[in-house]
């Protein structure tokens, strides 16, 4: 079920023209189909949503956690959203600014948004350009600790041209100017409510952070942090017929499997989010017939990073840095390639992911126009070829069947975060590597430690004190430029930069660095796609990592809940206004 998405046309140039036409078309179509079914606001009663990670706060600027961003998306909205296909659709504006319609300046250094006429906050006051301007100031304020500030990269200033027109000025030419105010990570907040909460005072405004005034379909009536949110329909929502539900409960806590059970088996809830559970468990629950699983694919790839540097404890402070020297065996391209083709990705998908995963050899699997098909050599498992590669490179089996060369054994320490699907994958990979004479020691680390980045901890994924490590990464929105720039030499984590670099495998290639630089200067869409594909191929062919699975998002909806459009590019609740109760 490959998705025929056209997510790629969100950059400037001639593609923009297509985009505008396409966007207005789909947006209208969605509004039509969803709107036709329902009678009036609040006619469908109560909606129960279950997020097994409880929402902590409804201000996504103060918490970038997915659960918090998605919870708040019921209440506050950005100027434009991404739909289920990854296309940008207007939310608080009438059209997406492009170079063609004059919304984006020719020199790509500014973008002008025009807010829809008559748009109101849930408290009945009008939404103005000042609110948008304030939102940018709020997030860019010093000492505010705004967690979404990356969306405002290169923003020089935001000016309110008139009541409804707001102009964002960039300090450099931005081929992709849709960072600020697009997507659930960058919603608009009300100036009147947050005026006294800027900078260091941001955390003190508990009332505003727990009950922001927004333009979304619902307003908060009660918020219990890390537990439950009660909401009711926004009386001033821009579409008088929506939302269909009068009240909503967004409950949190527990684990994914029991969340799935509450929708699929007991029917206590209408919607459960993020159900990464073994496929057979979900299938068995789904068979009860009360609900169904829905999934969609974004840009997430489960990958195994190979450490290009020596992680041996003997290296002391230089451990896992370029100074420690190349890895004793992973620096050998033959070993890296053998490790990749010895894996049966189909099997890994079957055991751990089911419908919600696809084998992949790409680190950049989507949007489709960016997805390479040149590196599919790794998709088929080939143990013989792997053995041949290793034999040829001089890695010969020792007495215990483990290959070695010059006293170096192919013995791998394989770490990942704690998660039952990941541990199953670890076991499978260990088994497959065993077949080519590679020994594996498994280690799993609590996610809060592994992804925590505490410079004092030896177990963070950035420090990478192991030979290989596995996790998922992705990028927000649909433009991969920032993502592909993660593998430049200079970005390798090391003590000097507080282990903060994004180039986890410590991959380093002059050719790749040059391509990254070139992409930053290239505007035409086709060229950017070609560059991205070229970079993706380098990474897989050189073996900076072993891509395993293109992961989808999976949630569950009750059979009685209609209108859900599963979305991997924005909040899953992005169209909650269109959800209705089936008879």
């Amino acid at each position: 079920m490959r998705k025929t998405s056209k997510i790629n046309n969100i950059v400037r140039g001639n593609a923009m023209k297509k985009l505008t036409i396409f966007l207005t078309g789909t947006a209208a179509a969605i509004a039509m189909t969803a709107g036709a079914a329902q009678a009036e606001r609040g006619s469908d009663g109560h909606l129960n949503i279950l997020y097994w990670q409880a929402v902590s706060i409804l201000n996504p600027f103060l918490s970038g956690g997915t659960k918090d961003v998605e919870g708040s998306s019921l209440i506050i909205e950005p100027l434009a959203k991404f739909n289920e296909k990854g296309e940008m659709v207007p939310a608080l504006v009438d059209e997406i600014p492009t170079v063609e319609n004059g919304g984006v300046a020719e020199d790509l250094r500014s973008i002008t948004w025009v807010i829809s006429e008559g748009l109101m906050w849930s408290d009945g006051t009008p939404v103005t350009a000042e609110d948008v301007k304030f939102t940018a100031e709020y997030c860019m304020a010093e000492d505010g600790g705004c967690q979404q500030v990356a969306n405002f990269t290169d923003v020089e200033s935001v000016e309110a041209v008139d009541e409804r027109t707001v102009k964002v000025n960039f300090s450099v030419a931005k081929p992709y100017p849709y960072g600020p105010f697009v997507g659930a990570q960058s919603p608009i907040i009300q100036k009147a409510q947050f005026e006294n909460c800027v900078g260091a005072r941001a955390p003190e405004c508990t009332e505003a952070n727990f009950g922001p005034i927004g333009t979304g379909p619902f307003v908060v009536t009660r918020f219990a942090a890390n537990d439950v949110i009660e909401l009711e329909a926004n009386p001033n929502y821009r579409d008088a017929a929506k939302p269909a539900f009068a009240t909503v409960t967004l409950k949190g806590g527990g684990d994914a499997a029991s969340a799935a059970r509450a929708v699929l088996e007991t029917g206590e809830f209408d919607y459960a989010w993020n159900l990464q559970v073994e496929p057979e468990i979900l299938a068995q629950m789904e068979a009860a017939g009360r609900g169904e699983l829905i999934s969609s694919f974004g840009t997430s790839v489960e990958r195994i990073n190979l450490n290009m540097t020596d992680p041996s404890p003997d290296k002391g402070a230089d451990r896992s840095t370029v100074e420690a020297g190349p890895h004793p065996f992973l620096s050998d391209p033959a070993v890296r390639r053998a490790l990749s083709i010895s894996l049966d990705r189909e099997l890994i998908v079957e055991a751990g992911y089911g419908e919600t995963g696809r084998p992949t050899c790409n680190i950049l699997p989507a949007p489709e126009a960016y997805a390479s098909t040149n590196v599919d050599w790794c998709l088929t498992q080939d143990i013989e070829e792997a053995n041949r590669l290793l034999d040829e490179a001089g890695w010969m089996p020792g007495g215990d069947g483990i290959r070695e060369k010059d006293g170096v054994r192919l013995s791998i320490l394989y770490q990942t975060s704690t998660n039952s699907v990941r541990q199953a994958t670890q076991a499978l990979v260990k088994d497959m590597w065993q077949q080519i004479g590679v020994e594996t020691e498994l280690r799993n680390i609590d996610a809060a430690v592994f992804f925590g980045g505490d410079p004092a901890s030896p177990d963070t994924f950035q420090k990478f004190f192991a030979d290989v490590e596995m996790y998922t990464n992705n990028f927000d929105g649909t433009d991969p430029e920032k993502y592909m720039a993660e593998w430049i030499c200079a970005d390798a984590p090391k003590p000097q930069n507080g282990w903060l670099g994004a180039n986890i495998p410590r991959f380093c290639s002059e050719e790749y660095d040059a391509l990254v630089k070139k992409m930053g200067e290239t505007a035409p869409l086709e060229e950017r796609q070609a560059l991205a594909i070229q970079m993706n191929d380098i990474l897989t062919n050189e073996g900076a990592h072993i891509p395993l699975v293109h992961r989808g998002d999976v949630s569950a909806r009750a059979m009685t809940l209609n209108g859900v459009l599963m979305n991997s590019w924005d909040s899953e609740l992005w169209n909650a206004a269109d959800w209705t109760r089936a008879e």
């Binding site: 499997a257 559970v277 073994e278 057979e280 468990i281 068995q284 404890p313 099997l347 079957e350 055991a351 975060s417 704690t418 039952s420 541990q423 199953a424 670890q426 076991a427 499978l428 260990k430 088994d431 020691e441 498994l442 280690r443 799993n444 680390i445 609590d446 430690v449 592994f450 901890s457 030896p458 177990d459």
Partner: protein, 318 residues
Amino acid sequence: MTDQVSMAPEKVIPPAPGSPVAAEPRKQRTLTADVWRQFRQHKGGVIGAIVFLTIIFLVVFGPSIHGVDPSALNVRERNAGVSWAHPMGTDNLGRDTFAQILAGGRTSLAVGVTAMLLSLLLGTAIGVLAGYFRKLEGPLMRLTDLFLALPLLPLLLVIIMLFRDTLRRSFGPETGIFLLIVFVIGITSWMQTARIVRGAVLSVKEQEFVLAAKSIGTRERRIISRHILPNVLSPIMVSATLGIATAIITESALSFLGLGFPSDYPTWGRLLFDGVNFMQINPSRVIWPGLAISLTVLSVNYIGDGIRDALDPRIRGR
């Protein structure tokens, strides 16, 4: 042996419990032989011992009889039911459940018993010292309070962070983690035992036989070992039984958090934990590890009952 109480010993005034004059010189008998003789008459204790020994026998020699590698994967045969090849079915990666139970038993029993002994030793020592020596009471009990108050999870994270790599280097990954886990469980679970033992010691030490022993100049070490300890044995036994169960379960929680054994290293607690979500698909994944843990705990409990009765001079030596 239905009602021990009503068959209480018919001696007029029982001598100080455990004191050497207790046994009449009917026949030359040692205390050990005496205790053993009494233990053999305790039906529950004997059955418990048999079950426990059987479990130990199975986990020690079982893997060589049922020669399936517990970590061998066969995804095509996953979630299989009972068959000759897999007497307890397979898990979701096609690993043989029976082989995993046998292999897991080794780890779980070793961890459970060692950690329980460590915690019992610590708890009893601290409890007895705090109860008997008034000077030590304050500091020791405040130490107990401190350990009770410490948040377990951050403590574990810190211990693991500080010691894992050192232990892994000096003892290898498996022994290193084993020592670490036993240590971690031991030092985080002795507090209740200590509190209870101290309470019991406080009340025993004021009894006449202790005063009598003191007055005839018995050394304190001897008073503690011969007079105090045997009399606080029953709460210790309860703690021991509960301790094994706690240690086995805690170990599973540790491995689940990524703080314990590697994920491909089966233990009973871990098998049970991993099996819970598969309960409806494959009930044998929870029944067998659950049964294994329960049987172990039950048998230890009955052995404990037997030992306690056997050591009780009012019952023994009739």
